[in-house]
Symmetry: C2
Subunit: 443 residues, 2 copies
Amino acid sequence: MSDKSKPVAKARAISGFPEYTPEIRRAELRWIDAIRETFERYGYVNIETPSVEEVETLAAKGGDVDKEIYGLQRLNAEGEDKGARLALHFDLTVPTARYVAQHFNELTFPFKRYQIQRVWRGERPQEGRFREFLQCDVDVIDQDGISHDFDAEIPLIALQALNAVGAGPIRFMMNNRKILIGFYEGLGIEKAGDVIRVVDKIDKLPVEEIERILVEELGLPADAARACLALAQIRSTDNSFANDARKLGVENTLFEEGLSELTTVMDRLNAADIGDSVVEANLAIARGLDYYTGVVYEAQLIDYPEYSTICAGGRYADLVGAYIKRDLPGVGISIGLTRLFAKLLKEGEIKPERASPTDVLIARFPENDVLELDAIANALRGRGINVEVYHEATKLKNQFRYAERKAIPYLWFAGDTNEVKDLGAGAQAEADPASWLPARLKT
Amino acid sequence: MSDKSKPVAKARAISGFPEYTPEIRRAELRWIDAIRETFERYGYVNIETPSVEEVETLAAKGGDVDKEIYGLQRLNAEGEDKGARLALHFDLTVPTARYVAQHFNELTFPFKRYQIQRVWRGERPQEGRFREFLQCDVDVIDQDGISHDFDAEIPLIALQALNAVGAGPIRFMMNNRKILIGFYEGLGIEKAGDVIRVVDKIDKLPVEEIERILVEELGLPADAARACLALAQIRSTDNSFANDARKLGVENTLFEEGLSELTTVMDRLNAADIGDSVVEANLAIARGLDYYTGVVYEAQLIDYPEYSTICAGGRYADLVGAYIKRDLPGVGISIGLTRLFAKLLKEGEIKPERASPTDVLIARFPENDVLELDAIANALRGRGINVEVYHEATKLKNQFRYAERKAIPYLWFAGDTNEVKDLGAGAQAEADPASWLPARLKT
C-alpha cells in the first residue's frame, strides 16, 4: 500500500490556535478537572452552550467586538444559505444570557452555574493572545435581587480553583464600584464614568499625569482630582481601607454602602484558607465601565507582577438584557485558562506529565497465551488500574524501551506466578492480579 | 437599575446545535467521563486539536464533504483578511493526521490516542442529525506496520465504553475487507469495489434486486453473483463463519488471510466480559470503500434495530496521507456521542440527573454566624463533599423548598451540636463536620 512518490505537504500549526503534545495536554486536562471539581464543591452545576449563536445575539453586546467575531460560512453552499447568520461566541456571558432567558422556567434560582468552553476571537495573534481559548466562568444569577453572600463566594471559588491547579500565589484585588461612584458624587463630580476611566490607569501612568488629565481634560477642581487620586491609592489586606477612605472627608450614602459591602467581603475571604495567596482591598480597581454595579475584582500572579490580569469579575445588575422584562442580577468571574496555562508553561512552572496514563505494561513472550494476558489485564482494569498488554511477542529489550519511552512505571511478567517490576525502584516481586495496586492508587 | 420598557427579543435554540438543561448536561458529562476513563484503562492518551484547520487541509480529504464545511469569516474585517482560509473540522481523522505528521518526532509509536471533541457539519438539520456534535475517537497508529492485536482491542474498547455509559446491549458486527476482496478475486471479478458497494445494501434491498444489479448492471455471471450474495449472508457469533465461507468453494490467499484474521479477533472478543452485548461476524459489513484495508466493524443498539450505526471503524493502511513519505497504518473507531445520547434521551433510556451536584445544604438562621457556617462547609468540602451554605437567613420553609427543587439530599443544621437531616429518609441525627459522609461517598 506504500506509495513513496506521494506528494508531501507541510503539516503546520495555525497561529493563535494552541495545540499540545500528549504530555502537556494531560497537564491541561488535570487543570480542567481540578477547576471543575472546585466549582462543584460549592454546588455549582455545569452547563454547555453551542459554540455558535446567531449574529444578532452576539452583536447585541455592542461595542467594537464585531470585528473580532468569526462568522460561519458554508463553503460551496449556494445563494442565501451562504451568508453568515451564525457566528462563534467570543465569550461565555452572551451565550449564558441567552441560555438563562431560553430555559428560564426550567432553572432553579439562584441559578449557580459554571461553564468551561472554548471561545473564539479573530484578533491578530501575538505573544500570549489566542484566537481560540478555554474560558472558565462561574456565575450565580437570581431574580430581581441577589444575596451579597455571593460577592465573597464567587472570588473565593475562583481563588480556590487557581490554588487547586497550582497556579502559584495569587493577588486577589477587590473593590466596590459604589465606593467610587459614591465618592465622586460626594465630591460633586458629574462625569463619574470618565473619572473612573482615567483613574483606572493609575498603574500605567505617573500620578502627576493622571492628575493633569483630571484637571485639564475633565475640568475637575485640583482638590477633587487629588482626592480621587488619594482614594485610588488606598490598599489594605485587612479592613483598614475603610477608615483610610473615610479620612478623605467625603460623606455619601452610596460610598458608605460600598465600604460596608467590601468590608464584609474582605472578612469572609480573610477567614478562608487561601494558602500563599493574598486578598487585598484595592480602591483603584474599576473593571467594565457600564456592566458592573457593586463588588469588582481582578487577580494577578504574585510571582509575575508584570503579567496581566488572570481572572476578573464582579456584580452586575442585569445579565439577561433584552430577553426578559425583569432584571436578573448576578455575580460572576471568568478565568482565562488558556492564557494562564500558556504563561506558566512558558515560565517552566508547569511540568509535562507522562506521555500516557498507563500504570502497567504486561510483557509478552512467544510462550504466553494472549487470552491469558488479556484476563490479567482485565482483572487489573476492573480495579481502576490502567493497563496495556504489549502488542507483540518480542525481545524484552524492546518492551523495556517502550515502557521507558512512555514512562510506564510497572512491567508485569505473567506466568505460573505473576511478578511485577517497579521500573523506578528496580525491585521485582510476586503479585496477584486480584489485589496488586500501583503506588498511584494506594491510600 | 430596572428598565421595564426595555425591548424583549426572543431567546431561541438554533436548529442542529444541541443544548441541554443542567439535569441533562450532567448525564452527558457522566457519559464523557465514563468514556474517557475506559479509554485510559487501556492506556490511551488524550489529545485535542484546534477546532479549525486550514481549508486546504480539510479539502485534501476529497469527496463531497466540501459543502458541509463551515468556513470562518471575520465579520467586519477588510480585504483579504476576510476570506475563509480557516474552517471548522468536520471529523477528528483529518486533524489527527495533521497532528501526527506535525508532532511526529515527539510521539511514541504505536501512538495510542483518544479524542473527544466537537465537530461541525453544515448539513440541513433533521431528526437525529446535528450541525455541531461530540465525537469520541480512539485510534492506534504505528510506523510502516501495525500489530493485529489492535484489530480486536479497538472494537473491544469501544464496546466497553458503550457498556460503561449504559447504552444498553450492543450488536458489534465484524468483518474483514480481505475476505470480500479475496473472495471476489477468487471468483475472477475485477470490479471488487463496485460489487462491495452493491452488496453493502443487503439490509436495504431485497436479495433478488441485488442479484439483478450484480448481473445486469455489473455484468457478473449469475453463479458469481449468487456466490457474492451467499457470502454476504453469512453471520455467526462463534467462528463457524469461516467454514461457512469456505464451503462456497472459492480458493484465494487473501480470502484465507481475512478469515484467519477475523477468527483471531472473534476469539479475543468472545473471551472478554461484554455483558449483554453480542459480537457477530457479519460478512456483509463493508464500510468506507477506499479507506479501510483489513478488519472493519460497526455497531448497533440491539433494542433499536431500526436505528442506524452508533459507532464504526476499522484498519487503514495509511493515516497521514500526503504529509509524510512513509506509511502510518492504524486501527481506529469513532463513537457518535451526541447522536447516540440524543436517541437514548428521546427513548427515555437516559434519566436526567439532579439539577445540581450539591450533597449538603447548610441551613442559615439569623442567630448563625456566617463565618462559622463557612468553616463547617469548608471542613466538609475538604473531604470531597459538595456543599452550599444557604445564601440568606430566612424561614426554614424557603430553605427546604430550595433543597427540594434542587434535589439536594441533606440539610445541615449548625449549632452547639450539628445535626443533619436526610431529606429522602426523613431521619435527623447528630453529625461531626470532621467525619460525616453522605451516602454517595460511603464505600
